[in-house]
Symmetry: C2
Subunit: 361 residues, 2 copies
């Protein structure tokens, strides 16, 4: 019955429709619904009745245009089907929900161009923060672009959070939530070395990914600590998937046999490696030991259950959101010098059943 639109229109009810039908002003309806201003019980009842009759919900776009609106976090993820990332996303999402925030998920598919497009899209959405998941690329140009993103978001009142990657260099307005990647790798390699292994096949991951680099250098450091020479011929880079684990072990068995353990960059890689070992007639851990990294559910579903490094992914997600929320509530300007913008969470080895002393001979 409103005057401005044709009857029978399928469009959703507006606050004006509610006001009209309840015989009150638009302002009153708004106040009843947001509840941040005293309203008489009588008025509230009348309005709520109409709201429920009309099945009215406020228009979020209009609301955020006018200044109100729910804060939103955007989660940018390489691949939603990766278990580790999914856990971070779960952490962020859970913490966001707890605070009444909304969360948006976008996937980049490992494509830097798409990542760029998504960050801009999120900027348009006016999100409170953009959470970027996963290892960074070790290109100068990529790092520069990230710095630009950070400044750009910052200028728009938003904020960039990097999760699971090293912080940006220089004075960049971004928060980093990281884990002790290098330390985990050190501990994992030490575990193998102290069990007596000396010839270890290392599958760190993609050479250009910072994550893989840290894992490799952690292992390296462990070898040094044990005074064991590090054989570069036993390092094989490749993607973080089980196929790579399989083919790498297959190739190593042919080219550089004699290793007694496999240090995989990821649980998934370890799964592939395990298959290849088994296919070659080798038993795990009797003939060859094997360890992973990440401690995703898969690790304990394999047979034997995988010894691996636990990374607190979900916790990282929660921490990332908390960092953003704190900063947002902690007043307008960012407290410079506080430097609470680089958080590092601990990792630890989870011992299961995939490691045994090397066979002698």
């Amino acid at each position: 019955m409103t005057q401005r639109k044709p009857p029978g229109d399928t469009a959703r009810a507006t606050i004006r429709d509610v006001a009209e039908q309840a015989g009150v002003s638009v302002a009153s309806v708004s106040r009843v619904l947001s509840g941040n201003y005293p309203v008489s019980e009588n008025l509230r009842r009348r309005v709520m009745k109409v709201v429920s009759d009309l099945d009215y919900v406020t228009n979020a776009h209009a609301r955020s245009l006018a200044g109100g609106g729910t804060p939103t976090v955007a989660i940018l993820i390489n691949n939603i089907t990766g278990a580790a990332f999914a856990h971070v996303a779960k952490g962020v999402e859970g913490a966001a929900t707890l605070r009444g925030w909304l969360s948006l998920v976008g996937t980049t598919g490992d494509d830097p161009e798409r990542e760029l497009a998504l960050v801009n899209l999120m900027r348009q959405q006016g999100v409170a923060a953009v959470v970027l998941l996963g290892g960074a690329y070790d290109y100068d140009e990529y790092q520069l672009r990230m710095a630009r993103f950070a400044r750009s978001l910052d200028a728009a009142g938003s904020h960039l959070v990097l999760v699971g990657r090293p912080p940006l260099e220089g004075d960049v307005p971004a928060t980093t939530v990281d884990y002790d990647n290098e330390g985990g790798a050190y501990a994992m390699a030490s575990h193998l070395l102290s069990a007596g292994h000396r010839r270890i096949l290392v599958l760190p991951g993609p050479a250009e990914l910072t994550t893989a680099q840290s894992r490799l250098s952690g292992a390296w450091r462990a070898f040094e600590a044990y005074g064991v020479p590090f054989d570069r011929g036993l390092v094989r880079h490749g993607p973080y998937d089980d196929e790579h684990g399989y083919t790498a072990v297959e190739a190593a068995l042919r080219v550089t046999p004699g290793f007694t353990a496999v240090l995989a960059g990821t649980d998934v890689v370890a799964a592939g490696a395990m298959q290849a070992l088994r296919a070659a007639g080798l038993r795990v851990p009797d003939d060859v030991s094997i360890v992973g990294y990440d401690d995703i559910p898969l690790a304990s579903q394999l047979t034997p259950q995988l010894t691996t490094v636990h990374v607190p992914y979900e916790e990282m997600g929660r921490v990332a959101l908390r960092a953003v929320a704190d900063r947002r509530e902690g007043g307008a300007g960012r407290r410079k010098g506080t430097d609470g913008d680089h958080l590092v969470l601990g990792t630890h080895v989870v011992v299961r059943h995939s490691v045994a002393p090397p066979r002698r001979g």
Copy 2:
């Protein structure tokens, strides 16, 4: 230098700022940016220069308020860490991106209340569609609520899509994208029966979930077809996780030993079951065969690789989005009677290495 806001303000630039600085009207800037109206090359250049100087991006909220705006799909998922759901989400997200649509992910954590809250939240966002993932609950009240959601969304110009669950009863404005769940279970059970198994432990999943019900009835039908009596004592309901798989097998081994195969409701359940079998000193498939359902990556990472039912999850996601997009472009009113609103995708058995004929004796 705008008059209306204090200098040094951190707020993002508006279209007015751009217009002012470029010495043109707001309307012109809008036209340059949306590109749906002829603009002189000179004007375009001037505007674009300022846009890049100011690092301006349009405000998505304002845009969608004014009628423009990017269509958005909301994906509601029980648990983002579930591999099957993640694949559907990936399918939806990919197809959405391809069309320039945005996608939003929310998780319900198996909580019907939260599901309700989320659907309302999405309604506020004015999403083009809400995609609900996963099995439904077999409560009358729950079904009624879904029907209300569907009508509510429909009235607001949005649309409900149910993925991986049976369609709603009655004339409800919702689209269903389903897979041949019962048929897959039938085929899987038949596979076991034709291998000679007669005493089969069945772990269909949670009794109140429609998904589990279909899988159970499919198995049942296969038993009938083979003229094999169905032993209800060998059916154990429980959640879709590996822990249930483990404890169920453990219990069955104690209470109803003698089964020669396990028909698990899910690959993850199968993984747990496999562990329990192994822990009891039984070999797979030599002593006991085992099959799963879903064909998530885990299935081929287990040892032995799991024979399972392939469900085209990612494809379902794509199909779901296409259905929404078609309907949206296909004119205002929904074509009644066309009934293209219930799509069923096929499933098939993937034979790997976890099934062997039963041991005799």
